[in-house]
């Protein structure tokens, strides 16, 4: 893991139902990553970055302000994409997990990452 964010991801990954997490730069490059199962990290990072870029523009055009968070539920799992100041944080969850508690933890993790990546 890079940029000393391992402890933040490690904390996230200890939460019940979290299957892994990743920090992605604005350019779609993996900054830090920790997943229990194999995933193609580079591809997921690129896809996440593309989603962010697409949603940010669409929300502004629909006059809903900038992008904050995207929660996608699939047939097998759930993913949370949350925008930080300079990064995008991605958390993979079990499908049945309620986002109440995990959501707060993710928000705190993003704030901490923001602090560490603040130039």
């Amino acid at each position: 893991m890079a940029h000393g964010m391992g402890d933040i991801l490690d904390r996230l990954n200890r939460i019940e139902g979290v299957k892994g997490s990743m920090v992605v730069g604005r350019d779609g490059i993996v900054v830090a990553s920790d997943f229990a199962d194999f995933i193609n990290e580079d591809a997921v990072a690129a896809v996440s970055s593309a989603i962010l870029s697409s949603l940010d523009g669409a929300l502004k055009r629909l006059e809903m302000g900038g992008f904050k968070r995207f929660v996608i539920t699939g047939s097998d799992a759930k993913i949370v994409l949350m925008k930080g100041r300079n990064t995008l944080v991605l958390v993979l969850l079990r499908k049945d997990i309620n986002l109440g508690f995990v959501g707060v933890e993710i928000r705190e993790a993003v704030a901490e990452i923001d602090e560490r990546t603040h130039l």
């Binding site: 591809a43 997921v44 055009r61 995207f70 929660v71 699939g74 759930k78």
Partner: protein, 373 residues
């Protein structure tokens, strides 16, 4: 099958299911054998699920690849039969487009064309079927044919991502680079930041000899939305032999369905904090909507379809399986996206909305749509 072998098979099935359930990465053989058992017992959903998971974990295993392809084919055959029956009993243009698309996926091009033509006869103002014919022509390198169908599709729905995208590719094939640039610019209006379109636009501009690169976000708003391309194709009249009575019945059925969708949208209006809702088909056509008057319905429909399309594609790539729903949170409101059959429901809501109420309303909406679907 004898009693003993049946017992052994049942035992093997339970053992493999246990491994598949509890192991984060079961051996490839587990998926192959489980698939064979489910398949032979006619458990289509279970076989499909196992094949998909096996494919995600072992994308290069030839046996799992074959099982996955066979399964996909079987699921498509079941879906084709369902669509054929629906078209007979309760037709709408989306059913024709979906059926034609499935035939096309299986390489049954003749059948796909026939379904498209029948769909156009019954519903001449629906762009999805023209788009499919355009795709077929494009694949067969009949670019003149592709152009006529795609221009018609874009004329009927000026925010049709796929039609405009393929139209741009066709213009490029024909050396009409400026037309390609114009179409790609039009897409960026409702799909801002789409990387594939930005790359294609760059290539089209280079081919057209345009040097300066203007970021799409910085372009003046009035310059971006391109007018719908002019068409060379006249709307098709019903075939001479077509039964007028049958056609009228089909139109009535479609109208009844439209009323049911609009009624279902009304359910959502009653929830405090819901600002609007939109039901669109896979091609971006708005089926029913409830939006404030200052929102361009077609544009919103195109944007929602585009977001859904990229998200659904990404969900597979990110190992989430097939897309079920999504919540996009913006600074001043949320968009809830739900896939219902071949349609997408988008609900625009305040961030403070009571999620329980909204989820119940969405469930009611989905049930109402499925009832008539």
């Amino acid at each position: 099958m004898g009693i003993i072998s049946s017992l052994v098979r049942g035992w093997e099935k339970r053992r493999l299911e246990k491994i598949e359930k509890n192991s984060p990465r079961p051996p490839a053989e587990v998926f192959i054998r489980l698939y064979e058992i489910y398949h032979s017992e006619g458990e289509v959903n279970a076989a499909s699920r196992v094949a998909k998971r096996g494919m995600r974990l072992y994308p290069h295993n030839p046996d799992i690849g074959k099982a996955s392809r066979d399964m996909d084919r079987m699921v498509r055959e079941i879906e084709k039969e369902r669509l054929r029956q629906k078209i007979e009993s309760y037709p709408n243009p989306i059913l024709y487009a979906r059926l034609a698309e499935l035939y096309k996926t299986d390489g049954e091009i003749g059948a796909s064309v026939k379904v498209c033509e029948a769909g156009i006869r019954a519903f001449p103002d629906y762009g999805g079927t023209y788009l499919l014919l355009g795709q077929i022509c494009f694949d067969q390198e009949d670019f003149d044919g592709a152009l006529s169908y795609l221009e018609k599709a874009a004329e009927l729905d000026r925010y049709n991502y796929m039609a405009l995208r393929l139209l741009a590719d066709t213009y490029m094939k024909q050396g009409r680079y400026m037309d390609a640039v114009q179409n790609l610019d039009a897409i960026l209006y409702f799909a801002p930041g789409d990387e594939q379109v930005l790359d294609a636009l760059k290539a089209a501009k280079t081919a057209a000899g345009i040097q300066e690169e203007v970021p799409p976000e910085a372009a003046p708003a009035e310059a971006v939305p391109a007018p719908a391309p002019t068409t060379k194709v006249k709307p098709r009249e019903p075939a001479k032999g077509a039964s007028t009575v049958a056609r009228q019945m089909k139109m009535k059925a479609a109208a009844k369905k439209q009323v049911a969708y609009t009624d279902a949208i009304e359910i959502l209006k009653t929830i405090e904090g819901v600002h609007g809702a939109l039901l669109v088909d896979a091609f971006g056509l708005v089926i029913a909507s409830y939006l404030s008057q200052d929102v361009d319905e077609e544009l919103a429909g195109a944007m929602i379809t585009n977001i859904y399309r990229s998200t659904a594609r990404s969900a597979q790539q990110m190992g989430l399986g097939s897309f079920e729903d999504g919540v996009i949170e913006g600074e001043s409101g949320n968009i809830h996206l739900i896939a219902i059959q071949d349609m997408i429901l988008a609900v625009f809501a305040a961030a403070t909305i009571k999620m329980g109420l909204l989820e119940k309303a969405i469930r009611d909406f989905a049930n109402a749509v499925l009832e008539v679907g």
